[in-house]
């Protein structure tokens, strides 16, 4: 690849409105060359519209799209050095696999396509299927043809619009690894749109979480998961326990908060809310960061850990872990995942327990937000 950052994608103030509906609010985004970038969000959050504006299939209402130093905002799709893997693959049903893959090369006037097409089909392990028609292939194979058809053009950016949505779970896992492998091999910038948070986290270097036409938070998967800045991100990516608390004092770099009749502390750097004394903060912690100790052994818990008392409401054994729902004083449905290493037989529904975790695993969010943001979206998705 060239070193002039020709594969950088730069969106400046880009927006899209349909009548009175705003699909994408003015958005600034830079995707560095060679990265695997994911746009993550529930359906209707504007992620696909953003992708289509990069592809040129949708004209932005305002703002510009740059590829490297080139302003491509006004270019029609067929003049952009960008290719798309469509959600439904959109393979040409009247052409065989070979001709589908060769389509882009032929349109650019390249005559001898045989070698390139064969190499590309080899890369996606479909060398044997070259003379079949798309409908004769399985979903996973069609998906790989769609990737090959786009990649063979060596685009500066490859756009993937929910490319794994139509596959079953096992195949999806396999294709996630496959796509990641291909991306590492060819080094092209990938922009991947998905509503599957696990897919985004396993594949992408950088994830932008979108909601209602805006980017909620952008960062590496670890960063987003460990240190969410909004309740939407906290709930949409994995599960979070959120506790309403009040700022009590600041001691050094740490903030001390009151929740119910207990005290919790968290590092100031991990709090995205204003920390004036008396201000309200949502304190969050991930379920797997929490340890569960029977109330009788409460004395054994090391000093300095955040602790909350409660009663186990339900437990379910899932093999690698046991998931507990704890009715705590500050939060009626506290979720805790415990690894099945040494199972305490006393931890059954009804048992009084102490939940405790390291302050370093705690994060603070602005309490002015909807505490259930992101949770609802996931449920709506399931209903639909």
């Amino acid at each position: 690849m060239t070193k002039d950052h020709g594969g950088d994608v730069r969106l400046s103030g880009i927006s899209k409105t349909y009548g009175s509906f705003t699909a994408v609010h003015p958005l600034d985004l830079t995707v560095p060359e060679g990265s695997f970038f994911a746009l993550l969000g529930a359906s209707g959050c504007g992620k696909t519209t953003t992708l289509r504006m990069i592809a040129g299939l949708e004209e932005p209402t305002s703002g510009t799209v740059h590829l490297g130093d080139q302003d491509v905002t006004a270019l029609p799709p067929y003049k952009r050095p960008v290719n798309t893997v469509f959600q439904s693959y959109a393979l040409f049903p009247h052409l065989d696999i070979f001709e589908n893959v060769a389509f882009g090369l032929r349109r650019r006037g390249i005559r001898s396509v045989k070698k390139q097409v064969e190499e590309m089909l080899e890369l996606v392990q479909l060398g044997e299927q070259a003379r079949k028609k798309p409908h004769q292939l399985s979903g996973g194979q069609q998906q790989r043809v769609a990737v090959a058809r786009a990649l063979i053009n060596q685009p500066r950016v490859l756009l993937l619009d929910e490319p794994l949505g139509a596959l079953d779970l096992k195949l999806r896992r396999q294709m996630q690894l496959e796509l990641k492998r291909i991306q590492t091999e060819v080094g092209i910038t990938f922009i991947h749109v998905t509503h599957d948070q696990e897919e985004a986290m396993t594949m992408a270097d950088t994830v932008a979480v979108m909601s209602a036409g805006r980017v909620e938070q952008l960062g590496s998967p670890t960063d987003l998961y460990e240190n969410p800045h909004t309740t939407f991100v906290a709930n949409f990516l994995g599960t979070s326990n959120l506790i309403e608390a009040e700022v009590d004092s600041t001691s050094g770099d740490d903030i001390v908060l009151t929740a119910g009749d207990g005290k919790l502390s968290l590092p100031g750097a991990r709090c995205s809310a204003p920390t004036a004394t008396g201000g309200r903060v949502l304190v969050g912690v991930r379920p797997e960061k929490i340890s569960l100790t029977h109330a009788d052994d409460a004395g054994d818990i090391p000093v300095g850990r955040n602790r909350i008392t409660g009663r186990i409401a339900a437990s379910s054994f899932i093999g690698v872990s046991t998931q507990y729902v704890v009715d705590a004083s500050v939060c009626p449905e506290f979720e805790v995942y415990v690894q099945n290493i040494d199972r305490d037989p006393r931890l059954v529904p009804g048992a009084e327990v102490v939940l405790h975790w390291s302050p370093a695993h705690t994060f603070g969010l602005d309490a002015a937000q909807d505490i259930d943001a992101g949770v609802e979206t996931v449920e709506e998705e399931q209903v639909a």
Binding site: A55, Y78, N83, T84, F86, L91, H94, G104, R107
Partner: protein
């Protein structure tokens, strides 16, 4: 058909109070499944009877007529006189050729006029789609004969249409092509072709529209994404995918047009007689039944051969 046979209760099922068919199954199922298996044939029976009485029998009758000799006064007898075919063909080959020529021209004109319209309805019409479709079918609300007669007025000598064509020097071109004569359009080949085109245009537009409408719009996006200009997208994606519509549209236009005699009768002259006119005259005026029947069979065979070659050539056997 499969669903019909699936309704048969499998023998080992215990009787269920909920299912009326299962209630009878404790007695070994001897008669019921058999009757179920015959149901498809009972459903086919009316259609098959209809075809036998109104298609197969008349065909056999016509075939036997075509090899009869005799006269109207003495009656006709089957004498296996196959020479009638040869005589009919050698006498009326100009009319056959003319039929193919006129029907072919009308089919090409229908395709050229119908394709853009079908494309517009399928992809661009938006909320006007249904209205335009109704307008395409609207002429069927009036009789075929009346519509063809109306073209007599439209193409009348000295009328505005002929005047305009003359002023635009279109008639010079058609005169040179032998499609018109002098400053007349009526009673010329052009008038017959115009009438055929007009009458069969909906039969071209509807199948074209159906096959265009089925094309997934995302394929256009995919082609554009893969560096195809809009025109290349049409040439490489849209048109090939609309081939089933092109083939069925041209067949639905060409086949009836080549056997048509109304247009040639009303808009043409004795020099524009098509094979349909000959058959009609032989059957109804001259009453030479063997020749008329033989002509009908020759026309049918010719169309079958042409259609088969055409479908082979266009490579759409699996698409039609």
């Amino acid at each position: 058909m499969a669903t019909l046979t699936e309704t048969d209760p499998p023998p080992p099922l215990p009787p269920s109070p909920l299912s009326p068919t299962a209630a009878t199954s404790p007695t070994p199922p001897t008669k019921k499944p058999r009757r179920g298996r015959l149901v498809p044939y009972w459903l086919l029976l009316p259609g098959i009877l209809w075809l036998i009485v109104f298609f197969a029998l008349p065909m056999i009758y016509q075939a036997s007529t075509s090899v009869q000799t005799g006269s109207l006064e003495e009656g006709y007898k089957v004498t296996w006189h196959f020479a009638t075919y040869w005589d009919a063909l050698s006498e009326y080959w100009p009319q056959f050729l003319r039929s193919v020529l006129y029907a072919g021209s009308a089919t090409i004109l229908c395709l050229l006029l119908g394709y853009p319209l079908a494309y517009l309805i399928a992809f661009r019409a938006g909320r006007w789609r249904n209205l335009i479709l109704i307008l395409v079918i609207a002429p069927f609300f009036t009789s075929f004969l009346i519509r063809t007669l109306a073209w007599k007025t439209i193409l009348a000598d000295g009328g505005p249409v002929v005047g305009a064509l003359d002023a635009l020097h279109v008639l010079d071109v058609t005169n040179w092509l032998g499609m018109t004569a002098g400053d007349r359009v009526l009673a010329t080949p052009l008038a017959v072709v115009c009438g055929l085109t007009y009458n069969f245009l909906p039969f071209m537009i509807l199948p074209l529209y159906t096959s265009l409408e089925r094309i997934d719009g995302r394929l256009h996006e995919a082609a554009g994404d893969l560096y195809a200009t809009p025109f290349t997208t049409f040439r490489k994606v849209t048109f090939p995918l609309s081939m089933p519509g092109v083939v069925s549209g041209t067949l639905l236009t060409f086949i009836p047009a080549s056997g048509d005699y109304v247009n040639a009768d009303l808009l043409g002259s004795t020099d524009t007689r098509m094979v349909g006119n000959v058959i009609q005259t032989q059957f109804l005026r001259i009453l030479d039944y063997p020749t008329a029947a033989a002509l009908s069979f020759i026309l049918m065979a010719a169309i079958l051969i042409m259609v088969t070659l055409y479908i082979r050539k266009s490579g759409t056997e699996d698409l039609v």
